[in-house]
Amino acid sequence: MSDLPIKVPGTSPVTPDTPATTATPTNRLEKKLAELATQGRKALIPFIVAGDPDLRTSQAIARTILHSGADILEIGVPFSDPSADGPTIMAADARALAHGTSIVDAFHLVRELRAETQKPILFLLYYNTVVQMGLDLFFATCRDVGVDGIIVPDLPLEEQDEVGPIADSHDVIITRMVSPLSGPRLSELTVNGRGFVYCVAALGVTGERSELSADLSTFEMAVRAVSPIPRALGFGISTPDQVRELAAGWDGIIVGSAIVRRIGEGHAAGLNAQQLADQLGIYVSSLREALDEGTLAALQGG
């Protein structure tokens, strides 16, 4: 990575954007969430890894997913040692890294997608990737290319003193995360949050789970009671049935490993980019349908 083949805003200072509390948000993520809330709809947030199984295919998949009912796209930037991820996403990162996918490629992917979509795009990455690029350059590039927010599993709120204001000054959202163990930390973690709060449905690392925790509704009520922003649930959600059931309680549903596993299996079975994209499109459409059905059922049920 000798040259950053990305247009980087030069010395011209970036104008700090208005904070979240103003009436009309400028950040795509906040705009989308506000729009969904008005429509009484829930956000479907699929996850893929940039460069998995290769860049061209991941672009085709991203495009198809965005046309199949995704509201927000979460793109993983592959990391050598993803310590918050389970075997499925570890394998995807390894596939992407095998042919050298880097943060630069991930930015390229977003730049290409931006030619055809204004839906919010988030990066999921580990903090070292941000640190090595340099905080200013990283967030300036996010803004320039069109990455609206980031999710950083190894960057707790307590360590955001330096990075928070820099992200803000480029109007890039650092997504707050909460878990069922956060307990008394919940209000501190959600106050002043922007976008959605990422609610971790299951203890442990990412990965599909056949059974979701029985205590999810307790968790849901605890977050609802304190969070000033929408709540999206992720970790372990994999079937349309689960999505249908969760639609009532949550503002958004994040589906990661279930998608990434299908990409890995399809690739191993020799599917080409278009076939893989089509297959993932069908799956995401089924999640969309389930989410809308669940939302409607909740409305009708009172």
């Binding site: 990575m1 040692d81 640190v131 090595q132 995360m177 203890l203």
Partner: protein
């Protein structure tokens, strides 16, 4: 023991200059905060300290010997002392930290221990303490290390622990650490994660240092008792850095005492096969801490290599990064070959077979001997014994056509 003493100026708790911190997933944050609180309370509780000291004495066999290596001394022309951590129960310094942490786990009501291990010494120490306290124990170990340290795998199993093989990444200590963190994320409520070195998210680097400083505290006392003065230099190997940190810590405010760490140069720092983090690492964030890491330009962690499974790690504890940054401690890299030669040298000269990790410190002593004067006192921390390494050294000798075992009588 006073954990606050000697702590360098820091902006936030758990920071050593800019290094350290607590870069952990939110799922782990409550557990880390709970640990920090429990640790502070324990260290302020005289009965906890008394329990720890009693275990060190009656179970680990402390104080460890401060041994005057006369043959090394006359060969090198200076007073060489060995701090014999190899004589501790389970054969390494790792037990000092483990006994402290397992007492803490018991105090916190945790019934299950997990640990990562490289050379297997920390895994063995944790399995040992688990047996002693009647706790269950799972140790994560890279597949590669399970092969090089097969004896220690069996020892852990004998002690009742489950050894979980880690095949991801380079299948060494780095990956075992990631896997232990993943497991802790799953079971933070009932599981205590016993970290084996001065690394990871706050408060671990501080906890492990405080439980290892017994090494330096004893050196200070023993050296005073023998010579009535402080040592000239302290040399210790650094993997994550716990035996070195324990050795150095009580001397940080003694500017006359040189603090010297030996890291692993593997096949040489001019090859990609080394683990010389202090020389070539760049600041970054990994495994919960801001420290130095061997990594590429975009922040992917580099695959590293050392003959020594205990030094085969791409990072370093944050307090060492700070000690190097401020110039208070100095670090040099030792190749596999130099370490293997030092391993055989100590066996021949003193009748002591050192761990291959500790052999890095001995090799550095040998290289630096010219810098020491006849009345200087140089203390090398012998972090562990070498039984676990004998088979691997024998294989190395054969592969490299070395003659380590020529018979002097012929």
């Amino acid at each position: 023991m006073n954990p606050a003493q000697n702590t360098p100026a820091t902006s936030k708790p758990g920071r050593f200059g800019p290094y350290g911190g607590r870069y952990a997933a939110e799922t782990l944050m409550p557990a880390l905060l709970e640990l920090e609180k429990a640790y502070k309370e324990a260290m302020a509780d005289p009965s906890f300290i008394a329990d720890y000291q009693r275990l060190l004495r009656d179970y680990a066999g402390r104080p460890s010997l401060f041994y005057h290596a006369e043959r090394l001394s006359s060969e090198l022309g200076t007073h060489v002392y060995l701090k014999r951590e190899d004589l501790n129960h389970t054969g390494a310094h790792k037990i000092n930290n483990v006994l402290g942490q397992v007492l803490l786990a018991r105090r916190m009501g945790k019934k299950r221990l997990i640990a990562e291990t490289g050379a297997g010494q920390h895994g063995v120490a944790t399995a040992t303490a688990a047996a002693l306290f009647g706790l269950t124990c799972t140790v994560f170990m890279g597949a590669e290390d399970m092969e090089r340290q097969a004896l220690n795998v069996y020892r852990m199993e004998l002690l009742g622990a489950t050894v979980t093989k880690v095949t991801s990444g380079t299948a060494t200590l780095k990956d075992a650490t990631s896997e232990a963190m993943r497991e802790w994320t799953r079971r933070a409520d009932d599981t205590y994660y016993v970290i084996g070195s001065v690394m990871g998210p706050h408060p671990y680097p501080t906890i492990v240092r405080d439980f290892q400083r017994i090494i330096g505290d004893e050196i200070r006392e023993q050296c005073q008792a023998t010579y009535g003065r402080l040592p000239t230099a302290l040399i210790a190997c650094v993997g994550g850095g716990s035996n070195a940190m324990g050795t150095f810590y009580p001397f940080i405010d003694e500017p006359t005492v040189r603090l010297i760490g030996a890291e692993a140069a593997g096949e040489g720092i001019d090859t990609p096969r080394h683990a010389a983090t202090m020389a070539y690492g760049k600041p970054g964030v990994f495994h919960g801490m801001h420290s130095l890491f061997l990594q590429d330009q975009t922040g992917q962690i580099a695959p590293v290599y050392s003959i020594s499974a205990g030094l085969d790690y791409p990072g370093i504890g944050p307090e060492h990064a700070w000690l190097q940054h401020t110039g208070r401690a100095e670090y040099a890299a030792i190749t596999d070959l130099e370490a293997v030669e030092a391993f055989a040298w100590l066996a021949r000269q003193e009748g002591i077979i050192p761990a291959i990790e500790s052999s890095h410190a001995l090799a550095l002593l040998r290289k630096m001997a010219g810098e020491f004067k006849p009345d200087d006192i140089v203390v090398v921390t012998l972090s562990g014994r070498g039984d676990k390494d004998v088979a691997a050294i024998q294989a190395y000798q054969q592969d490299h056509g070395l003659l380590l075992t020529d018979n002097r009588e012929e």
